[in-house]
């Protein structure tokens, strides 16, 4: 079961053909609303390269994942609070300076791997032609410095945890992280 956790244009038939069993559809929101959004939405991501914003979001655990170039200090906070590092393939696809983007993404992923921050790899597709198959995203993960096993896990491990948490919330059994009603 693989999940694409950032899709802006949903094409269910094509997603199934590419090997995914589920996807998370992207919707934009203002930074002020983040704390409120985490309770309502399935998966909240902070997209920012600003270190202060990243640190604040990690400290307050107001998001599920952070996307961008992240320093080790913030990555450590994220690992403690089970916040994932989100890597979008579309960042590399749309980038004008691919070498630079690839370098910084690899650097961040290597640090996250060392600190054991959860990593989520997704396509970040803005239209259906930017969707990529499971094997391509696994290859992307491997090229970023992950092992084959870790690259596969980046497509389902954290995503399944989020999915289970949301299911518990829907049934009203979820209280807080690690605390569930019987």
């Amino acid at each position: 079961m693989f999940w694409d956790f950032w899709v802006e244009a949903l094409d269910e038939k094509l997603l199934k053909e590419l090997g995914f069993s589920g996807a998370c559809v992207f919707g934009e929101a203002k930074a002020k609303e983040l704390k409120v959004l985490k309770g309502q939405k399935d998966f909240t991501v902070l997209v920012s390269n600003d270190e202060k914003a990243q640190q604040l979001a990690a400290k307050r655990s107001s998001v599920d994942a952070i996307a961008g170039f992240i320093e080790d200090k913030v990555l450590r906070e994220m690992a403690q609070r089970n916040i994932a590092l989100l890597v979008k393939f579309s960042d590399l696809l749309d980038s004008k300076n691919k070498a630079r983007t690839f370098y910084y993404t690899t650097k961040t992923v290597k640090l996250a791997r060392k600190i054991r921050t959860p990593i989520v790899v997704c396509s970040g597709a803005k239209d259906k032609w930017q969707l990529r198959s499971v094997s391509e995203l696994v290859g992307f993960g491997e090229a970023l410095g992950l092992t084959a096993k870790e690259a596969k896990e980046a497509l389902f491990k954290f995503q399944e945890k989020v999915w289970k948490r949301q299911e518990l919330k829907r049934t009203g059994r979820y209280i807080s992280l690690g605390v569930v009603k019987k």
């Binding site: 696809l93 691919k98 032609w129 930017q130 391509e136 696994v138 290859g139």
Partner: protein, 105 residues
């Protein structure tokens, strides 16, 4: 017996697009994409080749070596369009021998 470090591998792939793609154009696009990302040295060590005998309606096989497989996968994923036709390349399977490809294709 000591096995050589670079062993041949064959990547089976499928192109998702509205129209059919010419195999020569595709091979050129893959090499260009690989060259842009990994340079001439990377291209010479990976040496990707399209096997024309297995090309059939946007499905084909690329020959490379075991070390370059993730790099080839990235350069395939970075292909957006060929000759103005938008495409998605999906790798199907990595084969070790030509015999296995003949069984599948």
């Amino acid at each position: 017996m000591v096995k050589p470090k670079n062993r041949k591998r064959y990547i089976g792939f499928k192109i998702i697009s509205d129209k059919e793609i010419e195999p020569k154009e595709f091979e050129k696009a893959v090499k260009d994409s690989f060259m842009r990302l990994f340079g001439e040295f990377g291209l010479s060590s990976a040496n990707p080749k399209l096997l024309y005998e297995f090309w059939d309606k946007n499905t084909g096989v690329l020959q490379t070596n075991n070390i370059a497989i993730p790099k080839i996968k990235i350069s395939l994923a970075l292909l957006k369009e060929i000759g103005g036709i938008k495409i998605i390349v999906q790798t199907l399977k990595v084969f070790g021998t030509l015999k296995k490809i003949k069984e599948r294709f």
